[in-house]
Amino acid sequence: MPTVIVVHSFRRGTGKTSLVANLAALLARAGKRVGLVDLNIESPSLHYAFGLKDSAITCYLNDVLRQACSVEQATYDVTTSLQGSAPGKLYLLPASTRFLDISMALKGDFDSEALDACIPELIENNQLDIVLVDTRAGLTDDTLAAIAMTDILCIILRPDAQDFQGTAVTVDLARRLDVPRLIMIGNLVPKTYNLAEVTKEIETTYHCEVAITLPLNPDMMTLSSADIFVEVNPESPFTQELKTLLDHLIL
C-alpha cells in the first residue's frame, strides 16, 4: 500500500519544503518510487529544489486542479537532479509561480475532489511507493483537503512562542479530522537550546509523537536553493538525523 505523507506547518518558513526535498532524495536513494506534490499554491518552490525551471514546465498542478490538463501532463521526472544515479524515482507535480495563477488559486474555491482524484492517479501512473505533499502555512481549504486524505501528517514547528500557539490550532484540527498518524517535528532550533528539552516541550504541549527535533543548521541556510542538503553532504550528522526520521516515518 502506497503511503501519503503531508508536511505542514501553521507558520511560514519552518522548513517544510526543505524537509520534503531532503526526505525525497533519501527515499530515492533507498530505492523508493516517490511522488512529490507542491500544494503550496501561495508561494510554490518545491520544483526549484529539484532544479526544475519554470521555462521547462508546460503544465502545473494548478492546471490539473482546474481540469485543463491531465495528471500525466503535469508530472515531471526529476530523478536526474540527484547526483550520479539513484535506484529509486522522483516524480514531481509542480505548482505555478505565475502571478495570475497564484491570485486565481488564492481566490477560487479549492476543488478538494480534484485533489482526491489526482493523488491516486499520480500513484497509479508511476507505480509509486510513497507520496510527499508540501503545503502552505495557515488553515486554508487546500491544506484541509490534504490533511483529510493523508495517511501521515507531519507538522513542523520552530521553538517560537508564535509557532507554539498557532500549531495548537492545527493539531486540534488534525485530531478532529481523524488523521491516522500525526507526527510532530521541531526544526530550526538555535544552538543555545537543548534539543531534548524542545522535544519534551512539544510532547507535553500537544501530547503527540515527536519524531525528531532538528537544530538550526548553518550550512543549510547558506546552501543555494537548487541544492539538496543530503545530496551535497551525505556523511553529515544532520543527514543521519534525517535518515532516522525516515525510518520513523516508514516503519
Binding site: 511560514r12 502555512a137 488553515l139 517560537d160 512562542a161 508564535q162 498557532g166 484540527l173 536553493s225
Partner: protein, 250 residues
C-alpha cells in the same frame, strides 16, 4: 495628523510581526498612541509578542469583519506588556486564533472595504497617531488595499535570492499605487554580510533602506515571547529600529 504604516514582506518568516511589535513599543515610548491590526488572518501571531493569550482575546478582527462588533470593541490595550511605564499607548486588534474561525474567514472571504472603514474608524475613535498594519505576505487583495492607503510602507526582506523576485514585485506595486514613503528593512543579515549591504540593496531596488538588522541569537532565543527593544534597549537592532521610528515620525 495620523499616519498609516504597513509592514509587508513578500515571503513569510522575514520578521514582520517582530518588527511591527517592536516599532509599536518604541513609538509608545516616545509618547505616541499606536494601533496595530493583525491582518495575517491565515496565520496570526503578533498578539503572542504582547502576551495576549487565546482566553484573553475577546473580540477579534474576524468578529468585526463578520459584523458582530464594532472595531473599537476589538482593540486590546496591551501597553502594560511593556512593563516599564510609557507615556503612549498600544492598542492591538488581534486576528482570531480559533481553528473554525480561521477556516471560515478564509473560506467565505470578507468585504475588503469594511477593513478599510475599520482602519479609519479606529484612528478616529482611539485617537491614534500611528496605525501599524501587520500584513499577510505575498500580494493579495487585502495587501493591495493596505498598501494603497498607507502613508508609509515598510518592506522587510532577507538578503537571499528567494526574497529577491517577490520583493521587486512589491516595490513596483507600491510605486504604481503612489505610496508617499517607501522604505526597505533588511532583516536576519548574517554578520559576515553586514558591511556594504545597505548601498547594494538600495541600488538593487532603487529604494531607501531604513534599517539593517543583523541576525541575532538574542532575538532567536527570545522566540517571540516578548518585546526585544524593551529587553535589549542598547542592542544594535534597537538602535536601527529607532532610525525607522524617526523616518515614520518625519
Amino acid at each position: 495628523m495620523s499616519k498609516i504604516v504597513s509592514v509587508h514582506s513578500f515571503r513569510g518568516g522575514t520578521g514582520k510581526s517582530n518588527t511591527t511589535a517592536n516599532l509599536a513599543a518604541l513609538l509608545a515610548m516616545q509618547g505616541q498612541r499606536v494601533g496595530i491590526v493583525d491582518t495575517d488572518i491565515a496565520s496570526p501571531g503578533i498578539h503572542v509578542l504582547f502576551g495576549l493569550s487565546e482566553e484573553d482575546m475577546g473580540h477579534s478582527l474576524n468578529d468585526y469583519l463578520w459584523g458582530k462588533c464594532s472595531i473599537k470593541e476589538t482593540a486590546h490595550d496591551v501597553t502594560s506588556s511593556l512593563k516599564t511605564g510609557v507615556s503612549g499607548k498600544i492598542y492591538l486588534i488581534p486576528s482570531s486564533i480559533k481553528a473554525g474561525e480561521i477556516a471560515r474567514i478564509l473560506r467565505e472571504s470578507y468585504d475588503v472595504g469594511l477593513l478599510n472603514d475599520g482602519f479609519t474608524d479606529l484612528i478616529d475613535e482611539m485617537q491614534l497617531d500611528i496605525l501599524l498594519i501587520d500584513t499577510h505576505p505575498g500580494i493579495n487583495e487585502e495587501t493591495l488595499l493596505s498598501i494603497a492607503i498607507s502613508d508609509v510602507l515598510l518592506v522587510i526582506l532577507r538578503p537571499d535570492n528567494q526574497d529577491y523576485q517577490g520583493t521587486s514585485v512589491t516595490v513596483e506595486v507600491a510605486r504604481k499605487l503612489d505610496v508617499p514613503s517607501l522604505y526597505l528593512i533588511v532583516n536576519k543579515v548574517p554578520h559576515v554580510y553586514m558591511n556594504g549591504i545597505g548601498p547594494k540593496i538600495e541600488q538593487t531596488y532603487n529604494a531607501d533602506v531604513a534599517a539593517i538588522l543583523p541576525h541575532s541569537d538574542e532575538m532567536m532565543a527570545l522566540a517571540s515571547a516578548g518585546l526585544f527593544v524593551a529587553q535589549y534597549p542598547d542592542h544594535p537592532i534597537t538602535a536601527e529600529l529607532k532610525k525607522v521610528v524617526a523616518r515614520i515620525l518625519a
